[in-house]
Amino acid sequence: MIFRLAIRNLFRNRWRSALTVGGIAIAVMLLVWTLAYIEGFVAEMVRGATAVDIGQIKVQNPEYVERPSARHGFALGTHLEDIRAVPGVEAVAPRVRVYGLVGNEDTSGVAQIIGIDPELEGQVSVLDKGITQGRWLGKGVADGPREAVIGERLATHIHAKIGDELVLFFEAADGSLGNDVLTIVGLLETGNTAIDRNAVYMNLTDLQYDAALEDNVHEIVVKTTDILAADQIAAAMRPKLPGLAVRPWKEMVPEISQMIDVSQKSDLILFAMVYLIVAFGLFNAQRMSALERTREFGVILAIGVKPLQLFGTVLLETIFVTLVGALIGAGLGAALSWYHTVYGLDLSLFSDRANFDVMGISFSNRLYFSVTLNAVFKPVIYIVPVAFLCGIWPAWKAARLSAVEAISGRT
């Protein structure tokens, strides 16, 4: 009965109810949209940091971690197979990395030269998807020209284009000077500044030869099935890799891991601020609505309705209004965020800069949102206690009314 009474009461003053519902809906919609924005941003940070270069887990010679010098490699042995056998590991790829000078007779730049297995690399990183011009590295033919894919910004810096030769000069593992000439077959843009500005990718075996590395590599990159379980999977890998450093991404880019923690905490502050404003509006509306009906409540009490039932009716009104508003808001918010998930949000609306870098991750002016359950339902769940708090006071006042005084208007 209280249920039906509450609904009827709400429909009696449609304008007031509609405005309250609308206010809550807009607040929730904005929250959903903001959360989806933040999650999209964080996802992009994590993706930019891990999916391009460092991977989710990296296996290295501990000395290389200390001082990245070409000679601090390690023999591959059966490590690839051993790591693949660890539960939770999706893919592995070996890499060689040396630092040197790349360019031509007219211009050159400092670069990191990374030797990769094109096929395995495609399984652990998104490098091959970052190709903006030309193509990804081929499988490598014994006598064919050796190929290179370089970062787009590096290419601009050294005035190189597809089809050009690229001369490499670097310190090899034995201290001698490695050198080679490659043909540029592709340019790539990954969003990772260090890669876009400084990286040259070539075939692993070519670079192992050039750098006098024999069969040694500098790192094994591991992709896991669950990026958040990387720490545990790394721990499971360690016993199989004695003498090697096994580092999950949170250890390699602690600043990004910290940023995620901070952004989750700042979500709470956002909720607190928005819902405080919502609470005042909601409280005002419900209190007014209850006050107007003092005489009516008196009659209800007089005909024998128990105060507890009246309390329930008034409280339910508030909760209904809030829930309806929140659900509409969540729906609208999810729809709007979904649009921005698919088409992205043009950030150039807010800034005239074409793109920007945050912690070495570059963002284009189109940010893609991420609509998660968390983003859609957190605002709905968090508004429930707000509704209770705002509804209890008017309901309590109504239930405590004395029928005689209320009817006579002497309250």
């Binding site: 000078l101 007779e105 050159s108 490499l168 000069f169 201290g175 001698s176 050198n179 000439v181």
Partner: protein, 254 residues
Amino acid sequence: MKWITVLMCLVFSMNVSAQEVEKPLPTVKEVTTKLDELYRSDASHSTVTMEVLNDRGLRTLELEQWTRGKDDALIVIRSPAREAGTATLKNKEGLWNYAPRADRMIRVPSGMLSDSWMGSHMTNDDLVRESDYDEDFKTSLSWVNEAGKTYLKATMTPLPKAPVVWEKIEYLLDATDWFPVRADYFDRGKMMRRMEFKDTREVDGRKIPFIMNLLPLDKPGERTTFKYSTLEFDKKVDGDLFSKQGLRRAAKSR
């Protein structure tokens, strides 16, 4: 008796310092020009053994080197076989490394002058001398006494915009012939490396140290030694040796 000894000592030391004060300082220009031309003269041709000792062990390179005037220099690695033919060329247009395996040259940006040359502790600038003691530094001279010997000390601070990474260089020079004995390089108030000059020989009437020993002070135990096997001055060098074609020819010949 004791008193007399002390007195004698005092008189004697006063005498020595008096002598030093009397000896006139050469002009800055004379000294810096001498240092600039020490291994170069108008033209030079030399063969050098370079030893690099670092944390991965000892590496020995044989180098052949030509210079002409202030601007031109060419260094070709002759051994070991793996690196034979690798070369560095400097001329008025810039600085290049030559990769023999690829048969290609790569320009070394001027920002990398202070970077290590071919994995040694020497910098590109040490080898091909982009900077010039005469033009790029403000130099002050003084007499100093070390271990009972008198030296001429040249304290050089680079002028603004000079292509030099050091804050200060202190040269210790032989008092009469002004050939270097030692050079200390400072950066941010700290001595970063020391170059020792040894085995001074006479070439064409000039005294030239044949061994240069470079000690990076931030890496104790490491060194690069530069030892001249032959050094000739003012021989006529082939006109286009310091060009890209000349470099290729020199790098490929033996």
